[in-house]
């Protein structure tokens, strides 16, 4: 499904590479969770997969097509199969829930029809189904700004769902929510992916969460993969490898056990 070869990226503003020589193969239907301290490179890796971050070198094959080294129009086509969930939801706050979710259909609408706001009946149907799936049908005409954090993330999930994606990338999807909602939203996301056979790649901060929602865990430290195995195999030593004996190890590592 996703094959990453020798992927390296450095931000202009920083000295060190954010990710260095990453090689990774993710199979269809897997639920991969990336763990690691803030700034370890999880987010950069995720954002390279749909080319929100333009990698310096390396190849990223999504369903056999290299998204990292193709024309941007081709990348747009590949992106339409990849949904993305963000930590801060990234919704249009002043617009309605419905209009936000409708944006998930953009890759299926021509530019001219977008200008005049002419989405097809099928698009509307898909948006309705997506909203139903996340339990927000009654909120379709509500402004996003009036919703709670948990509801906002569900709108974002609905937007992604209406893309009918094969892959969902979730960049810290629950970090901005309070603990009770964290579980609710994560359950929803995981269940949807299981139902529809969507490959899920997420980054999560808390280890117990990472274990519960993954079929495979990948630990990243300073831009390199230092752990890659089933969640059951993760032990105390690995955790120190991933986080180092730092504040993060104490905060996220200890908390999970």
């Amino acid at each position: 499904m996703i094959r990453i070869e020798n992927l390296t990226h450095k931000y202009k503003s920083r000295k060190e590479e954010a990710i260095k020589d990453i090689n990774l193969h993710i199979k269809r239907g897997e639920s991969v969770v990336l763990i690691g301290s803030s700034g370890s490179g999880k987010s950069t890796l995720l954002r390279c997969i749909n080319r929100l971050v333009e990698p310096d070198s390396g190849k990223i094959y999504v369903d056999g097509r290299d998204i990292a080294n193709c024309p941007i129009t081709e990348a747009q086509k590949i992106r339409s199969n990849i949904g993305m969930i963000f930590q801060h939801f990234n919704l249009l706050e002043r617009e309605t829930v419905f209009k936000n979710v409708l944006n998930g259909r953009l890759s299926h609408v021509s530019t001219l029809k977008t200008i005049f706001g002419r989405f097809s009946k099928e698009d509307y149907e898909i948006v309705r189904d997506s909203l139903k799936r996340v339990g927000l049908e009654e909120y379709k005409n509500e402004r996003v700004a009036n919703l709670s954090g948990g509801q906002k993330q569900r709108v974002a999930i609905a937007r992604t769902l209406s893309q009918k994606p094969k892959i969902i990338l979730a960049d810290e999807p629950v970090s901005a929510l309070d603990p009770k909602l964290m579980k609710e939203v994560m359950d929803l996301l995981k269940n949807i992916c299981d139902e529809k056979g969507i490959t899920l790649v997420s980054s999560l901060h808390f280890l117990d969460f990472a274990k519960r929602y993954s079929t495979r865990m990948i630990g990243i430290r300073d831009g390199r993969i230092v752990f890659d195995d089933k969640p059951e195999e993760l032990n105390e030593k690995n955790i120190v490898d991933i986080y180092g004996k730092t504040k993060d190890w104490y905060m996220y590592g200890k908390l999970g056990f």
């Binding site: 749909n50 929100l52 747009q76 992106r79 993305m84 990234n90 617009e95």
Partner: protein, 265 residues
């Protein structure tokens, strides 16, 4: 060689700034002959003039009202034309969506030039180009507003949260779709506000464009002034004030109406 930093105590700094301010005012007041004695000398004439303004002369009211309506028409057409030109151009002058530096600077430069020249000056230019009347006035307003709105629109576009744009990018949308569905909704309320503000502004500007022959009620004002018809001047001033107040109310109402949401079944 070691240079010692001149460290003034706070007290001296304040004193120095104080002296500087006094000097600036002395210089500016002197240059403009502004003084209490000049004011006192002129005061009787002011009283006399104001006295001669009453009661307002309404014998030519219908003509003034027609000109006031023309002024409003100029403001509406000029503002709309300016906003229509500024809208598409502003996207070319926003750093976050215009990768080409040359186009970005060229459009920014155009905006600054258009905006840097006052409506009255544009009026003079267009009157000599297309002759007297409201049409050069409309062009003058449009020219200035294109520059001003273009600048504000493009700055509004630059303040859109890049993460929100990324969410639209991640759906596989193309560039135009990203602008229409991701950026435009975020800037729409600001655009409406700016455009309506310039409608108000343009009415006020249009009232003086007549002074250079570019149409509107300003033409009547300067004619009455030149013929020393102080009572007519007062009538015209009253019409101006009332119309400005009306337009301010109207645009406040529009602001509320336009920024509302679409509902689906």
């Amino acid at each position: 060689m070691e240079i010692k930093k001149l460290k003034l105590s706070k007290k001296y700094k304040k004193l120095l700034i104080g002296i500087l301010i006094v000097i600036i005012y002395y210089w500016a007041l002197g240059g403009t002959e502004t003084s209490p004695t000049n004011f006192a000398k002129g005061f009787p004439f002011m009283v006399d003039f104001v006295g001669r303004m009453f009661p307002p002369d309404i014998s030519n009211l219908d003509r003034f009202l027609l000109k006031a309506i023309e002024t409003l028409q100029m403001a509406i057409v000029g503002s709309s034309l300016g906003a229509l030109i500024a809208f598409p151009l502003s996207f070319l002058a926003a750093r976050n969506i215009m990768p080409n530096k040359i186009i970005y600077h060229a459009v920014r430069g155009l905006f600054d030039t258009l905006r840097g020249i006052n409506e009255i000056v544009w009026g003079l230019i267009f009157v000599s180009m297309v002759g007297l009347g409201p049409f050069p006035g409309v062009l003058a307003l449009a020219a200035h507003v294109t520059g001003a709105l273009g600048r504000y629109f493009s700055e509004a576009i630059e303040t859109v949260n890049p993460e929100v744009i990324k969410a639209i990018v991640s759906t596989g949308a193309n560039k135009i779709q990203i602008v229409i569905r991701g950026i435009f909704p975020e800037v729409k309320p600001l655009f409406v506000n700016y455009a309506l503000y310039y409608l108000e502004n343009n009415f006020r500007a249009a009232t003086v464009l007549g002074l250079v022959g570019a149409g509107g009620i300003g033409m009547e004002l300067i004619t009455s002034m030149r013929l020393f018809k102080a009572r007519e001047v007062l009538t015209i001033l009253i019409i101006m004030v009332l119309m400005v107040a009306m337009i301010d109310r109207f645009s406040a109402y529009l602001r509320k109406k336009i920024v509302s949401i679409e509902v689906v079944e």
